[in-house]
């Protein structure tokens, strides 16, 4: 151990002396290697940033990794059983989707069918969304008699009735105001948190606070509590299922809850899943219609980004290879110049392996210095981009130098050092000791 340590330290000392003695040459080696290592770091930064952004996007839309989810047809029984079973549970929620129109009664909404506000006309007419047990949703035309004939100040949106806090599964970003408070008594005036698209509609149009929900006999007055970014491009409002339940008629056998019913559960909530499954089957829902699946966002992203990452890493490796050729060229020239030094070092007892180690130490140190420079520059550039352009795009504001890029840079520097230094190291070790005798 001491012997190894002595050799290692000797290699570092002699390598350091060699680098100091040939600063310009070391700098040139670093320059030739710099672009290669930088390319690897940048590719890694890009890949990790894209992955983070994509993951955040996917978590907003679909849910966090590991979340168990189940789609059910929104029948009276499935809705009632789900809401009863999951009420007050911290690790599972039921999301019942409805269509709601807020604004003047008996008018055609500004965005019929709950379409995005920047797509004039939307679906052209009002639709209900119907989802099957597999989660596939499709528009169903509303009853012709229900369609209002007169355009007016009203906004149509999807209304999600929640039995608990959905943010534990879908990490909505708070934009303004507050989230729903499930710890208080339900209010007769349903509190709503709207998404950015719905907020856009409210900010552009002055609409009265009257909410129409399919199947209700009276229109409640909603309270807008806050705005969140849920990643949805269509207007959506989230409310407490118990508050909305005051206004909805008791579920009956032929009632259809629009796009249906979604159950989201924590991976640990196996007892809830089991209980819910038993109760649903007992109510007459066929067991083969109860499909629970686990969200695997990272896996999906990994597949999605892997090919792109490898293509870019391949290109970066080519640039790195050019850098390696540069360092190899400089290394060979340096060994040629130092033939006498290496022969002399062998004469004073330096083993061949240490001579090779000295040359490798020099190229490895050069590689590490280059990696440090490339990583430093990338991190600084990322910080500058985040500071300068963060207010334009959210993902730019969230830019952080990923540690994986740092590791990739160091590995690239070390690999380049080894590849560039290996042949010169072997040559140095093979220099005959008698060179000094013949000189």
């Amino acid at each position: 151990m001491i012997r190894l340590s002595g050799r290692f330290r000797s290699a570092l000392i002699i390598g350091g002396q060699g680098i100091r003695a040939r600063k310009t040459r070391t700098l040139l080696s670093m320059v030739s290697l710099f672009l290669g290592v930088l390319a690897v770091v940048v590719v890694q930064v890009g890949a990790e940033t894209a992955k983070s952004a994509r993951l955040a996007d996917l978590e907003l839309h679909a849910g966090k990794d590991g979340t168990r989810q189940m789609y059910l047809q929104g029948t009276a029984d499935s809705v009632r059983i789900s809401q009863e079973t999951l009420k007050g549970r911290p690790d599972a929620i039921a999301v019942t989707s409805l269509q709601a129109i807020i604004g003047e009664p008996n008018v055609t909404p500004i965005n019929p069918g709950g379409a995005p506000f920047d797509q004039p006309g939307g679906y052209g007419m009002s639709y209900n969304m119907s989802c099957d047990q597999s989660g596939n949703c499709y528009p169903v035309p509303m009853n012709g008699q229900d369609q209002a004939q007169v355009p007016g100040a009203a906004i149509e949106m999807s209304l999600s009735a929640l039995t608990g806090d959905i943010r534990q599964f879908r990490p909505f970003r708070s934009v303004a105001g507050n989230w729903l408070d499930f710890s208080t008594e339900p209010s007769l005036s349903p509190g709503l948190v709207v998404n950015l698209e719905a907020a856009k509609g409210f900010s552009r149009n002055r609409v009265p606070a009257e909410m129409r929900i399919n199947g209700t006999t009276a229109n409640p007055t909603p309270r807008i509590l806050g705005v969140v970014d849920d990643g949805n491009s269509q207007p959506v409002a989230y409310g407490r299922a118990d508050e909305l339940g005051y206004w909805l008629p008791a579920p009956t056998g032929n009632m259809n809850y629009g796009p249906g019913l979604q159950i989201m559960m924590a991976p640990t909530a196996l007892d809830v899943e089991q209980l819910l499954r038993v109760r649903l089957i007992a109510s007459g829902i066929p067991a083969d219609q109860l499909h629970a699946e686990t969200i695997q966002a990272r896996k999906e992203i990994a597949k999605e980004l892997a090919l792109m990452r490898w293509i870019f890493l391949g290109m970066a490796s080519l640039v790195l290879l050019i850098g390696v050729a540069g360092i190899l060229n400089v290394g060979l020239a340096t060994v040629g110049e130092r033939v006498e030094e290496f022969a002399l070092r062998r004469a004073v007892g330096t083993p061949r392996s240490l001579l090779a180690g000295i040359v490798l130490a020099e190229t490895l140190l050069t590689g590490l210095f280059t990696a440090a420079a490339a990583i430093g520059l990338s991190a600084a550039a990322l910080t500058a981009i985040s500071t300068l352009f963060g207010d334009r795009e959210q993902f730019l504001a969230d830019l952080v130098f990923p540690w994986q890029a740092g590791v990739a840079g160091v590995v690239a520097g070390l690999v380049a050092g080894v590849l560039g230094g290996l042949i010169p190291a072997i040559r140095a070790a093979r220099i005959p000791i008698a060179t000094v005798m013949r000189a």
Binding site: A11, E340, E341, A347, G349, V436
Partner: protein, 252 residues
């Protein structure tokens, strides 16, 4: 008492693109501790080859090589490197100082060779002691470009002595120096024999050879005692060795 070094019937044939050439044809040599031996011979007679075999730079084709009674004729490269570090000191005709290092760093180079580890403080002390031994401790921080030829060769001698070797091997160490400076270097090396270090000096110079305890001639691949065939008048000036202290005084 066991001899420091013993060569018995050493043979060496150089094989190149031309016909094989026998350089050593059964050379015998014995060197005791603290003994100084000069080896003379015409160019191409095999003096340097003999020295490279003694210094374990190369292996003999035949014969036996004993160091302190231990047979080291067939030694692995790794063990040979360790022995070179521990037992031998080398001085060459060209000084082979690394120009980017100071005199002290050039000397310390023999201590940072992967054969064990020495603390920086200990290295410095050993280096300064070696430089002091050859009378140039005050030039420790000078780089080779600022040193004269004699000073550079004395740095090389200090490098050879810094590990306190049992045998100092010098291959025409005065070949690149003027007579006076050459004498100083020879005296510095000879002084090392007073501390028990053996010395083998390969030289063309009778004056320097005469300062050694024994003078041998390498001829036809064999070592034999040499006699000074020069006229008496030429030998008078070099009869008495110069004390090291006096020799180095001019540099202080």
């Amino acid at each position: 008492m066991t001899a420091l070094l013993e060569l018995n019937g050493i043979t060496k044939t150089l094989k190149g693109q031309q016909a094989p050439r026998t350089i050593l044809a059964g050379a015998d040599l014995t060197v005791d501790r603290g003994e100084s031996v000069a080896i003379l011979g015409r160019s191409g007679s095999g003096k340097s080859t003999l020295l490279s075999l003694i210094g374990l730079f190369d292996r003999p084709d035949g014969g036996q090589y004993l160091l302190g009674g231990r047979d080291i004729t067939k030694l692995s490269e790794r063990k040979a490197a360790a022995l070179r570090s521990a037992e031998f000191g080398f001085v060459f005709q060209r000084f082979f100082l690394l120009k980017h290092l100071t005199a002290a760093q050039n000397v310390a180079m023999a201590l940072v060779n992967g054969q064990g580890w020495m603390s920086r403080r200990k290295r410095k002390a050993r280096t300064m002691a070696a430089l002091d031994q050859v009378g140039i401790a005050h030039l420790a921080k000078h780089k080779p470009a600022r040193l004269s030829g004699g000073e550079q060769q004395r740095v090389a001698v200090a490098r050879a002595l810094v590990r306190e070797p049992r045998l100092l091997l010098a291959d025409e160490p005065t070949g690149a120096l003027d007579t006076e400076t050459g004498n100083l270097v020879i005296e510095v090396m000879r002084a090392a024999t007073d501390r028990g270090c053996g010395l083998i000096l390969v030289t063309h110079d009778w004056d320097h050879a005469n300062k050694m305890q024994r003078v041998l001639r390498l001829s036809d691949g064999l070592l034999e005692p040499a006699t000074d065939t020069r006229p008496v008048a030429e030998t008078v000036a070099t009869a008495q060795p110069v004390p090291v202290a006096d020799a180095t005084a001019v540099y202080r």
